[in-house]
């Protein structure tokens, strides 16, 4: 206390507005600490950061060897598919399950009462998903280049990674939706209902049975993959115009994000 005599504990100028730089700093701090705490959570970081690369190397490189030998384009397609796999997990689980747990703990009530700038908490979760997507993509690119199974140029790698990082956002929005509506104990189950079928039925790694093919378009993972392949100019496996896929992803983000925000604003 004595040490503080110089500094006032109370700021009575209640009409003073917050400088813009400090507002931006608040967004930054929120995103920084959201990412930091996820990295510190081993149950989350290990499966979602370290698993995709070995999975890719095993299934997408070793086991797919003969298929790639027959058609080299398959290697590129598999790399893109496993990249989508790598970014989905952190976005869906990292956002959805933590949000549900934090709601259970009453933490969200506190967050709403604090004068955090509008949406800082939700934006932080989205940015966290993108940070994790970025780290996952770096590891995937290292693995992809090392395995040499892709036909991508450096700029194509870059475009693909950029789309994948942005592609974490719609999954984060779905995560927000799940987290906003379910309890902490139910959230992992609901997330898996979206995650596992979405992974397989979007045709990222394996050819789909004929009757399921038209249905691939309902999964956001399909559209992330299509946007990435289309934007990177891989025409062989581009089934839908990248602009349409991107529009679908934006729609998914708006709808699920909007529903989540609506719910959180009312119920906390």
């Amino acid at each position: 206390m004595q040490a503080l005599s110089s500094s006032s504990l109370v700021d009575l100028q209640t009409s003073a507005a917050m400088p813009l730089m400090r507002v931006l700093r608040a967004y930054g701090a929120e995103a920084k600490y959201e990412s930091l705490r996820m990295l510190r959570s081993p149950a989350f970081a290990i499966p979602f950061l370290l698993l995709p690369v070995p999975v890719y190397l095993f299934f997408g490189v070793m086991l797919a060897g003969p298929a790639v030998a027959k058609n080299p384009g398959v290697g590129t397609y598999l790399f893109s598919g496993f990249s989508a796999f790598a970014i989905m997990g952190p976005a869906l689980f990292g956002v959805g399950c933590t949000l549900a747990l934090e709601r259970d703990a009453g933490f969200l009530k506190l967050k709403r009462a604090w004068p955090a700038p509008g949406g800082a908490y939700l934006i932080a979760k989205m940015l966290m998903a993108m940070v994790f997507a970025g780290m996952a993509m770096i590891m995937m690119i290292v693995a992809g280049v090392a395995a040499g199974h892709t036909q991508l140029s450096a700029s194509q790698f870059f475009i693909l990674a950029a789309v994948m990082i942005a592609g974490a956002v719609p999954f984060a929005a779905i995560g927000l939706f799940i987290g906003a509506y379910t309890s902490g104990s139910a959230a992992p189950a609901f997330t898996n209902i979206v995650y596992l079928p979405g992974l397989w039925l979007s045709g990222l790694f394996i050819p789909l049975p004929k009757f399921l093919e038209p249905w691939a378009v309902i999964w956001p993972a399909f559209h992330v993959n299509q946007t990435a392949l289309g934007a990177a100019g891989v025409s062989e496996f581009s089934f839908v115009a990248p602009a349409i896929s991107a529009a679908v992803l934006i729609g998914v983000t708006v709808v699920f994000g909007g529903l989540a925000i609506r719910r959180l604003a009312r119920h906390g």
Partner: protein, 719 residues
């Protein structure tokens, strides 16, 4: 079952009929065998399943609508008289017809030209060379034809009714009609008799595209006989049913039979006419007559089945159904260009119809519901269409003050008190005025008035569930009140700018377990315009030694200290502390009290809730006692204590407890070990009597009641 129950059911039926129309049009581009150019888009993935769905729904949807319209027409005529009826119909039918056509026709034209151009691969096909001259009265009514026909039928009904009443002065004829209606409904014969006029008129029609049932009269202002007879019968029967409302209950039992009949008749019709539409007139013959009659039977079986099912399952008021009912009129009016545009967009995509059809429906319904929510419900359009303007939804704005809303009839009424009459005093940091708050059935606040003055420490006391935490939550902008006003620094707590001068500590919160104490402080401080430095906060709250420990590894008391640190890190002018010292040891509590006193000394206003009355006694400038959601007492600690005039007398005496208990001034007596404790309203009299009765009284002590006794007494009175 009351009259209003029936209306809920019929409201739902009308909405169902209208929304079914949206489904019908949404599926049109997927019809098998659709000739390009007939509709805005011809989808590349046609479906027989959609064909059957559309065929079935189209059989009854408009007849069902006109039946309900006839029922409500008589209801309105009875309630408002002829003049009121026509005024209302002019506003709700004529205005939408005229305004709707002017707006929708160009939109429809644009969507149709766009769609047909796309259908024919980019060029609009040339019109056929020898276009026959338009017949007199030709006019593209579009799907708004039903409004036109409603008006025509209203006119015919009013004329017919006047003539009927002129002839039937004694009501004898009316009695015959009512008996016939009752008999035909209760025996189910109605479903076989009512189709006859329609079947004959359809049979007589030369160019009848039989797959589409009753001809859609959207090309001419001259009424078409078959349409007028078909929909006129439906409306007339609805009108007659309103004369004997109890007949609705018959279908409540009959509906499964009627449903079976409807399905059977539909199957017969489909077997005659085929799953996909034929765009050629049906040739005359027995098949045509049989088909026309089966079609009419199907209409009435479906109609009675749906009305009966609605009576059975939808008679109770339901907010969601009611919302959709209100929205359905608007949705049906404007849906066609939206639905058609969606069809055009997806028409050439290489997707299966089972994906595209739901997509068209979902996207257009979302859009239409959205436009209803934001453009209609609370605006003059809603006033015209539904006769009512709903207040804006609680979630969408409103800065604090609000009125109660009756969920059923939506008639707003003012809250109990008039909050504006009492303005907060200028030195108020935070005010609650006449605040009501309910959670479902539980009343949390029932007209609470509370002020926080500049620079004071206000202790809010109350039993569990008295409303303390709710009051604080309102000040923190976590909820909005049901009624009354909530202000912080003269502004709204919903405004983040206002809350930037507020610190808070809540009950039962879990902070991010992975973050360290220092990081939590840094993060929270970032929300404030001019916070203390992290080191200052750590020093002030004696948390230096825990600065780098993750929150999850702290004890309960340490967590509370961290929460206190977060509450003060922003240098707040106003601080809310909800049970701050729960779980703290004596040292930590003393330290927190010192910090709180230091804050008050520097001018911070503090609102403190606590269960420890000694905490309030030690810290508070003022005490507010809340019970059952109301303020029951407020004042300094001494003032509150003096509310209770009783005193405590303790002594050692040989007198028995029972004897002293009979003295009139004594409220209660207890003996513990050798000492007796007496609670008395008038201590002096009791002491005098005590000394007189027992000269050997020792250790006599008289004490003013404490805050605890005062609190107990006050809340007991309030309960």
């Amino acid at each position: 079952m009351s009259t209003t129950d029936r209306l809920h059911a019929l409201d739902a039926v009308r909405a169902f009929a209208l929304l079914l129309g949206v489904v019908f049009h949404a599926g049109f581009s997927f019809l098998p065998g659709l000739i390009p150019g007939v509709w805005a888009m011809t989808d590349n993935s046609p479906s027989s399943a959609i064909g059957v769905l559309l065929y079935t729904s189209h059989i009854f949807r408009m007849s069902l609508f006109f039946f309900v319209a006839g029922f409500f027409a008589r209801l309105m005529f009875q309630r408002r008289g002829a003049r009121g009826f026509w005024t209302n119909r002019a506003k709700r039918i004529l205005v939408p017809l005229l305004a709707g056509w002017v707006i929708l026709f160009p939109l429809l034209a644009v969507v149709w030209i766009w769609g047909i151009t796309k259908t024919f691969g980019g060029t609009l096909p040339a019109p056929p060379a020898n276009v026959p001259p338009s017949p007199p009265g030709a006019f593209p009514l579009t799907h708004l034809w039903f409004l036109y026909y409603l008006l025509v039928l209203y006119v015919l009904f009013m004329l017919g009714r006047a003539a009927f009443c002129a002839v039937d002065r004694r009501g004898w004829l009316r009695g015959v009609v009512d008996t016939a209606v009752r008999g035909s409904v209760s025996t189910g014969v109605a479903a076989l008799v009512l189709p006859v006029p329609l079947a004959l008129s359809l049979y007589a029609r030369k160019e009848w595209f039989a797959w589409f049932g009753i001809p859609t009269p959207d090309q001419s202002v001259i009424p078409q006989w078959a349409s007028l007879i078909g929909y006129g019968t439906a409306m007339a029967f609805g009108w007659l049913i309103h004369r004997q409302i109890d007949l609705l209950a018959v279908w409540r039992k009959q509906w499964p039979v009627m449903l079976a009949g409807g399905i059977a008749a539909t199957a017969i019709c489909l077997s005659i006419v085929g799953l996909g539409p034929a765009f050629v007139p049906m040739p005359s013959g027995v098949a045509k007559l049989g088909y026309a009659f089966s079609y009419g039977v199907a209409i009435w079986c479906w109609t009675f089945a749906i009305v009966g099912a609605a009576m059975q399952f939808m008679s109770q008021p339901n907010a969601k159904v009611r919302y959709v009912s209100d929205a359905s009129y608007w949705i049906y009016l404007v849906h066609l260009p939206v639905v058609a545009a969606c069809q055009v967009l997806v028409g050439h995509l290489p997707w299966h119809w089972s994906l595209k059809f739901p997509l068209v429906l979902i996207v257009s319904m979302t859009f239409l519901l959205g436009t209803y929510r934001y453009l209609v419900r609370s605006t003059f359009i809603g006033q015209i269409l539904n006769g009512r303007k709903y207040p804006r939804d609680p979630g969408s704005g409103g800065r604090g003050s609000k009125t109660f809303q009756d969920p059923v009839d939506g008639v707003g009424s003012e809250g109990s008190s008039n909050p504006e009459a009492r303005t907060p005093s200028p030195d108020s940091m935070a005010t609650l005025r006449g605040v009501h708050k309910r959670y479902g059935q539980t009343v949390a606040l029932a007209g609470l008035d509370l002020d926080v003055h500049r620079g004071e420490l206000l202790a809010v006391l109350g039993a569990n569930g008295a409303g303390k935490s709710t009051a604080i939550s309102l000040w923190l902008g976590l909820f909005e009140p049901d009624a009354g006003t909530v202000q912080l620094f003269g502004g709204s707590p919903l405004d983040v700018e206002t809350r930037r001068h507020v610190g808070l500590m809540m009950q039962e919160v879990g902070l991010t377990p992975e973050l360290r104490v220092r990081e939590l402080i840094e993060l929270t401080a970032s929300y404030y315009p001019a916070p203390l430095t992290t080191n200052e906060v750590l020093a002030l709250t004696r948390l230096e030694s825990l600065a780098n420990r993750p929150y999850a590894k702290l004890s309960a008391g340490q967590k509370r200290q961290v929460q206190f640190a977060l509450a003060i890190c922003g240098r707040p002018a106003l601080l809310f502390l909800d049970e701050p010292t729960v779980g703290l040891d004596v040292d930590a509590r003393e330290a927190m009290w010192r910090a709180i006193r230091a804050l008050v000394t520097q001018g911070c206003s503090i609102v403190l809730t606590t269960h420890y009355l000694e905490e309030a006694e030690a810290l508070a400038d003022r005490v507010a006692v809340v019970a059952n959601g109301r303020l029951i007492a407020s004042g300094s600690v001494d003032e509150i204590r003096s509310v209770v005039s009783r005193k405590q007398i303790t002594c050692s005496t040989a007198l028995s407890v029972a004897e002293m208990g009979t003295w009139p001034e004594v409220l209660a007596v207890t003996r513990s070990a050798r000492r007796v404790q007496i609670t008395a309203a008038d201590a002096e009299t009791v002491v005098r009597r005590l000394l007189a009765a027992d000269e050997r009284v020792r250790d006599l002590e008289v004490r003013q009641a404490g805050l605890a006794e005062a609190f107990t007494e006050l809340t007991k009175e309030a309960a």
